[in-house]
């Protein structure tokens, strides 16, 4: 495996963890967009440019957009409900 491929795998792992540890939903939508962008670079580096293009359009644009649009509509619930 080439150095670039190893590097992008590490970046994807780090970004995936960052998505989980971002607890504010609006901020999480932005982080997941960045994560989607990294995934598309990963697909590109593993010689799947078609999948990479789909990933950019869906993972980095459409998905965060839908999350943000849904969030904009819904009232904020009281915090600390999930944690116990």
């Amino acid at each position: 495996m080439e150095a670039l491929q190893i590097a992008i795998l590490l970046f994807v792992a780090a970004a995936g963890t960052a998505v989980v540890f971002t607890r504010e939903p609006a901020a999480q939508a932005i982080v997941i967009s960045f994560y989607g962008l990294l995934l598309s670079i990963m697909f590109f580096l593993f010689q799947a440019p078609d999948v990479g293009l789909s990933q950019i359009t869906v993972g980095a644009v459409a998905l965060p957009l839908m999350i943000l649009l849904a969030l904009a509509r819904v009232k904020k619930q009281g915090r600390g409900k999930i944690e116990s």
Binding site: F46, G52, L53, V61, L69, K76
Partner: protein, 250 residues
């Protein structure tokens, strides 16, 4: 569940996951060294027999075109579902839902955002059409180009108002074009049967390789998918934004 129990549970499952994952991963062939013959066959026939230089498009829209038909209708059905759920019913009380955020302040986009978004509208449309039209030549195609195209009216909304979004993309027109795009796939497949071939068999003259006219029926399937995907995403954006806008007014 206390913190301690949760941590033990997590560690146990993490160890199990790593063991199973490593077992599978260590037996994978190295990157780029697959032993299957499918890839070789596809690479050998796409250019001479289909006049398509992007093998992925040849696989998606021709060699296993029927699967892609199913995939396209997954998107079509989800869009229909979303539109159906979000539709305004005549007996629905206006603007009074308990989960609705009332006190949210919607900040106006800054001038920098508005100008950038406005400047990006035309290049986005052009780039989307380019990606749709060149599916047979280079990476991309109807799906990717369709999503890119669907962001153009959104940029218009970012740089202006929702009214401008709606004028650029009237809901009825978008719904009709989405339906035409979806129907095109089946009609092309059916036309192949009517002409004496099998469903989605590539019967048209193949045209020239590495040009946007190469690939026979794939060109038209690609355009249909582009229309369907861009229409579908814009339709979802429209119903979502409509819901938000009503809240603003109410």
């Amino acid at each position: 569940m206390t913190r301690r129990v949760r941590r033990i549970f997590f560690l146990l499952s993490a160890v199990l996951l790593i063991a199973v994952f490593w077992n599978g991963y260590s037996k994978l062939p190295p990157v780029g060294a697959l032993t299957g013959t499918y890839g070789d066959v596809v690479n050998a026939i796409t250019v001479p027999e289909r006049h398509i230089t992007d093998a992925v498009t040849a696989v998606n829209f021709d060699i296993r075109g029927f699967d892609t038909l199913g995939e396209e209708f997954i998107l079509f059905t989800s869009v229909m579902g979303a539109v159906l759920l979000m539709r305004r019913q005549s007996d629905e009380p206006g603007g009074d839902h308990e989960d609705r955020a009332r006190d949210r302040v919607v900040p106006n986009p800054s001038d920098a955002v508005r100008v950038t978004a406005l400047l990006l509208v035309a290049p986005t449309v052009l780039f989307g059409i380019y990606i749709v039209a060149h599916g047979q030549v280079s990476p991309g195609g109807g799906f990717q180009g369709g999503v890119i195209l669907s962001t153009a009216p959104l940029l218009l909304y970012l740089s202006g108002t929702f009214g401008q979004f709606r004028r650029a993309a009237p809901q009825r027109l978008i719904a009709i074009s989405e339906a035409i795009g979806a129907a095109a796939y089946i009609l092309i497949g059916g036309a192949c049967v009517a002409l004496g071939g099998s469903f989605l068999q590539n019967l048209l003259p193949l045209g020239q390789s590495a040009s946007i006219t190469g690939g026979g029926t794939v060109v038209f399937i690609d355009l249909g998918v582009g229309l369907e995907v861009s229409g579908g995403i814009v339709l979802i954006l429209l119903v979502y934004l409509e819901e938000l806008m009503e809240e603003k007014e109410g």
